[in-house]
Structures are given as structure tokens and as C-alpha cells.
């Protein structure tokens, strides 16, 4: 499967949409408190993925690392995000299992997006379209 450079931002957008939908429907069907746990987990997973992508893009690149921004993202991602995760998990208001379910949603969306591309053979069709346009040119 080919992974485009904007795959992460598209995944984050879809995850945000799923989070909002789950907050609306979940609070209606399951109550506000468990839905808020799942929603917080989703948001935590999204922020985690976002800062991971920023950290990788600023530190691991062919032209050399952007040290200042890499340090800032490193400081935000590891101590602050893990500390906030620890406080969320140990907090009595949030159910840890529901938080983990929410955290998994962004990963599930990545898998579903990849599976969708593979099942619909989108990469195959894009490749053929490219060959066609090269042939006609």
C-alpha cells in the first residue's frame, strides 16, 4: 500500500469527526460520563499521534534535525502527554478501560483506512490512471 504524506492529517480529521459523533450519540445512548471517558481517550490519542508526527518530521529528516522545534515537541510529547495520561488513568472520574478504547480509535481508523484502500484497490486504480496519462502524453 502506498502511504501519502498527508495520511496522518487525514486520519486525525476522521478521528476528530468520529470523536464528535461518538460524543453526540454516545451521551444519548450510554450516558454522559462513560462517553466523556471515550471522548477524552480519543482526544488524548489524537494529540499523541499529532505530536508524534511533529516530532518525527522535525527530528528525522534528510536535511538534518530542526533541534529547537524537536526539543519542544520532545518536551511536550513525552513528559506532558504521558503525565496527563497518568492523571487521566488514575483519576476516579474516568474509566481506564473506556479511555483505552478511546485511545485505540485513532489506530483503528488507520487500520480501516488502509484496509479500505486495499479492498477497493484504490492504489491499483491510481497506478493504472498514472500509466494511462503517461501513455496518452
Amino acid at each position: 500500500m502506498r502511504i501519502e504524506a498527508n495520511f496522518v492529517s487525514r486520519t486525525l480529521r476522521t478521528t476528530g469527526l468520529v470523536a464528535l459523533l461518538s460524543l453526540a450519540f454516545g451521551s444519548f445512548y450510554y450516558g454522559f460520563k462513560p462517553t466523556l471517558s471515550v471522548f477524552t481517550g480519543i482526544v488524548w490519542g489524537m494529540i499523541n499521534l499529532y505530536f508524534l508526527s511533529l516530532l518525527v518530521r522535525s527530528s528525522l529528516r534528510p536535511e538534518g534535525a530542526d533541534k529547537a522545534s524537536a526539543l519542544i515537541f520532545l518536551f511536550i510529547k513525552f513528559p506532558l502527554l504521558y503525565l496527563s495520561g497518568y492523571f487521566l488513568m488514575t483519576n476516579d472520574y474516568f474509566d481506564p478501560l473506556l479511555l483505552v478504547i478511546g485511545f485505540t480509535v485513532s489506530l483503528l481508523i488507520i487500520v480501516l483506512k488502509a484496509a479500505g484502500r486495499a479492498l477497493l484497490k484504490l492504489d491499483y486504480f491510481e497506478e493504472n490512471d498514472k500509466k494511462e496519462s503517461l501513455r496518452s502524453a
Binding site: I3, V56, P96
Partner: protein
């Protein structure tokens, strides 16, 4: 040995194994990505994206282990 003692021995070992495994996996992923970027600098964007996704999955496993630890820690003592 009661189950609380067994748990207090098993939990740190389990989290350590998870951390070591994800550390090895992440190191391998980053190493391979850097090698691939060195060989094909024009494909750096795609390689980075693949690496980010891989790193997110590897990191998630450690977080699951940590959550398991936090959930089971309440059962000790």
C-alpha cells in the same frame, strides 16, 4: 505464595518486557527509516509517514501494558 505477591512480582516484569520490546521495535523502525531516507531522500515524506504510523502502533502497545499495570496495581495490597 498468594496471588498478590505473584502480581507484585509479575507486573514490573511484564511492563519491563513490554518496554524492552517496544524499544527494540521502535529502534529497528527508526533505523530502517533513516537507512531508507539516506538511500532515497526524495521519498522522505512517505517514509516518515510510514514510520509515524508504525511508531504509533508500537507506542500503543506500551501504553496498553502501562494501563494494565495501573488497573492491576489496585489489586496489590
Amino acid at each position: 505464595m498468594d496471588y498478590q505477591t505473584a502480581l507484585s512480582f509479575a507486573l514490573p516484569i511484564a511492563v519491563s518486557i513490554a518496554a524492552i520490546g517496544s524499544g527494540l521495535g521502535l529502534g529497528r523502525a527508526v533505523g530502517s527509516a533513516m537507512e531508507a531516507m539516506g538511500r532515497q531522500p526524495e521519498a522522505a515524506g512517505k517514509i516518515q509517514t510510514g514510520m509515524i504510523i508504525g511508531a504509533a502502533f508500537i507506542e500503543a502497545l506500551t501504553i496498553y501494558a502501562l494501563v494494565g499495570l495501573l488497573l492491576l496495581m489496585g489489586k496489590i495490597g
